[in-house]
């Protein structure tokens, strides 16, 4: 039957479905449209939080559709896979054809080709055809690119081209997308992300992994030697730094002070300065002396924790003021002596002599508040990240090739005319930016035409 011949085989239908650019457009739009949901519905929150916002039926529906973690849901993944299959099939389908065209360009300017080219000119010359073809080949070389010469039944065809790379740009872009996906998958499968707080002076060798109860062994120990914070005059944080040491095999193998945007890297694991805070409560440093000046010890007072002094009483730090009545930092101390009511008084960090005026056997002086900080570090191992960056760089290069290079082709045909003269046709085309190419065409044309005149 005639129809049977026309109807494509099922496999061809599947193939043309997966190679169609229409499918690509639809997939791109579907990806764009569905991605919006995840920006309106907050992702990966605990269920209690969703219940506050959504009715029960809405919660059940959204949960069913995986919209609370949509970018990792199976249906979103399915669209991504479809997209990748589409892209790969399309490339497999077209790349060999493109390569064939590039390797085997139309070197002869025949009538059909001539009709499709809008930039062309023709003229006649007296003399031998072979002389002119040689001259024009040289002229083309110097004004554009060295031509390939084809002889065909008395006529000579010159063909030269430039910017073939532009044809590859699209494929570079498409390949780069697949490379980025591969890098992302590598990172997800082989890497981990975690977060850890390390108090100053302490060390860790394991990190809790984000979004799970797993703990990751680092294979070495990371110690936070010190943490420091710098602020602008307004009090906003300007910079915060952690002085970190890596201890591997019992000795320090690396030491680096990290700041936000400048992480530490060891064995493929990166540590990023992320946050900070106070580790436990602050302690007030207080030194005690007898009235005659002989030292009677030093105390480290945590807030409201009673500390006994033998033969004296119990001391507590009950209050701290950064600027007590305009006199700078001060500590309020409460003293309970056996059998007496508790008394409290302030001691100023900047003016230790004032406490002598108090009628007591011991003199207190305040050495300042000692607050231990912790540093908060993001920890990441992502063996795919360089693959991703490679893909990204390739994508930018590919886009530039595709958009800003142009495949320019120039043909010259010399054929014996009826009047004994040589008939010359020069025609050209450019895959991009035709406006700019018109000017170039004029230059090439003038250059070639002037040759031998």
């Amino acid at each position: 039957m005639v129809d049977e011949k026309r109807a494509p085989a099922p496999m061809d239908r599947v193939w043309s479905f997966f190679t169609s650019v229409k499918l690509a457009i639809v997939t791109l739009i579907v990806l764009a449209a569905t991605s919006i949901f995840g920006t309106i519905i907050e992702q990966n929150q605990p269920p209690e939080k969703y219940h506050q916002v959504y009715e029960d039926w809405a919660f059940a529906l959204l949960d069913r559709l995986n919209l609370f973690d949509m970018y990792h849901s199976s249906w979103f993944l399915f669209i991504l896979v479809l997209f990748t299959v589409n892209l790969s099939c399309c490339t497999i389908d077209r790349f060999p054809k493109m390569l064939k065209v590039v390797r085997n360009p139309r070197r002869k300017l025949d009538e059909n080709l001539e009709k499709t080219l809008s930039l062309s000119d023709r003229w006649k010359r007296k003399g031998a055809l072979s002389d002119w073809s040689g001259k024009y080949a040289d002229a083309l070389s110097s004004s554009f690119a060295k031509p390939a010469v084809t002889e065909d039944g008395g006529a000579v065809h010159l063909y030269s081209e430039a910017g073939v790379a532009s044809r590859f740009g699209v494929y570079v872009v498409h390949t780069s997308i697949v490379i980025i996906f591969v890098g992302a998958i590598l990172g997800n499968v082989l890497g981990f992300k975690g977060y850890v707080n390390i108090p100053e002076g302490e060390a860790v060798s394991q990190v809790p992994v984000r979004g799970g109860s797993r703990v990751q062994d680092l294979g070495f120990t990371l110690r936070c030697n010190a943490f420091s914070l710098e602020t602008y005059p307004s009090g906003q944080p300007k910079a915060y730094k952690s002085d970190l040491s890596v201890i591997d095999g019992g000795r320090e193998t690396l030491r680096k002070t990290i700041v936000v945007n400048d992480p530490l890297r060891y064995n493929g694991i990166w540590f990023y300065q992320s946050s900070y805070g106070q580790a436990g409560g602050a302690t007030a440093q207080v030194t005690v002396a007898k009235r005659d000046g002989t030292p009677a010890g030093s105390l480290s007072l945590a807030a409201n924790e009673p500390v006994p002094i033998a033969g004296y009483g119990v001391v507590r730090g009950i209050n701290y003021d950064r600027n007590f009545q305009g006199n700078g930092p001060a500590l309020q101390v409460a003293v309970e002596k056996p059998g007496k009511p508790a008394v409290s008084f302030w001691i100023l960090q900047g003016r230790p002599e004032l406490d002598r005026r108090r009628d007591d056997t011991l003199v207190f002086s305040f050495g300042g508040l000692n607050s231990k900080m912790y540093t908060g570090l993001q920890v990441a191992k992502d063996p795919g990240v360089n693959v991703v960056w490679f893909g990204c760089a390739l994508m930018v290069v590919g886009l530039i090739m595709a958009f800003f290079l142009s495949h320019q082709r120039v043909w010259v045909r010399l054929s014996p005319g009826a009047d004994g003269r040589v008939e010359v046709v020069l025609a050209a085309s450019a895959s991009r930016n035709r406006l700019a190419f018109e000017k170039k065409f004029e230059r090439i044309l003038t250059g070639v035409k002037a040759e031998g005149q």
Binding site: V21, K22, G38, A380
Partner: protein, 279 residues
């Protein structure tokens, strides 16, 4: 601060230029539009000087940073780029009718910008990164190209309707033909797309250096991806039968609406929905 005065002057100039271009269309007098061009050139000089001055002033304040780090500055930078792009297009295509569709975008952007805090604030640590600066600049050059494209796409839709009705009168009659408009919609996007791509990549690099994750599907990132996908769809629409012209123009306008959403909507609309915080 004197840079703000210059930016205010720029706003006025953009407004005057928009008025002149619209007036020229209405009165069908090219002379008025020529005046619009000169106002645009003046605005380009003034706004460039203002950006430079703002940079300089930040150094004098001891903060010293490139002026693309908050809402005010990025809006101003966007308007600056739109104006520049527009002037290039006007020169290349030798038609001043585009101005009426593109310059109002720059003007309204500036009006919106001057409602925001224009003081030079110090940078919190996360923002002290060259990647971030590269990110903002590339993104906004991309956005500016998309703005030009969307303005021309609107012209295309008007013109196509008129050509379908075989009419030539009225303001639309002055527009360049649909082929030229279609070509320009596309050309603006082939400038915008690589810049947006570079913008997303530098943003990812910044995130990776600051937090160790180059992509975390936060709303801002996701919206920039949405914009990118819409323009990718546009590029493929152009090479597919049946998706030329009208649908491509609609995609260009959709893309620009998504751009506006990405830039303003995420901070203003979505952050009201829940606790994203500024970003």
């Amino acid at each position: 601060m004197s840079n703000v005065i210059l930016f205010n002057l720029t706003t006025v100039l953009f407004g005057v230029a928009s008025g002149l271009y619209l007036g020229a269309l209405y009165a069908k007098k090219d002379g008025i539009a020529v005046a619009g061009t000169w106002v645009c050139v003046l605005a380009a000089v003034v706004s460039t000087a203002a950006l430079g001055l703002r940079w300089y002033e930040s150094y004098m304040m001891g903060i010293g940073r490139i002026p693309v780090t908050n809402l005010y500055e990025s809006l101003v930078f966007f308007a600056w780029a739109v104006n520049l792009f527009y002037l290039i297009v006007e020169r290349k295509y030798r038609s001043r009718t585009f101005g009426a569709f593109v310059m109002p975008i720059a003007f309204f952007t500036m009006l919106f910008a001057i409602k925001n805090d224009s003081s030079i604030q110090p940078l919190v640590p996360a923002l002290q990164s060259y990647w971030l600066h590269a990110h903002v600049i590339t993104c906004f050059i991309g956005y500016a190209a998309f703005a030009v494209s969307a303005g021309v796409a609107l012209m295309y839709l008007l013109k196509a309707r008129q050509e379908a009705a075989k009419a030539t009168e009225g303001v639309v009659g002055l527009f360049p033909g649909t082929k030229t408009l279609d070509d320009l919609v596309y050309r603006a996007i082939i400038w915008g797309f690589p810049f947006l791509t570079a913008g997303i990549i530098t943003g990812a690099a910044w995130a990776n250096y600051a937090w160790g994750t180059y992509w975390s599907w936060d709303p801002k990132e996701t919206w920039s991806l949405i914009v990118w996908l819409v323009y990718a769809a546009f590029l493929h629409a152009r090479i597919t039968r049946g998706w030329h012209g009208r649908r491509a123009a609609i995609l260009s306008i959709t893309g620009f609406l998504a751009t506006v959403m990405c830039y303003l909507g995420v901070n203003l609309v979505l952050s009201g929905l829940h606790s994203y915080g500024g970003g």
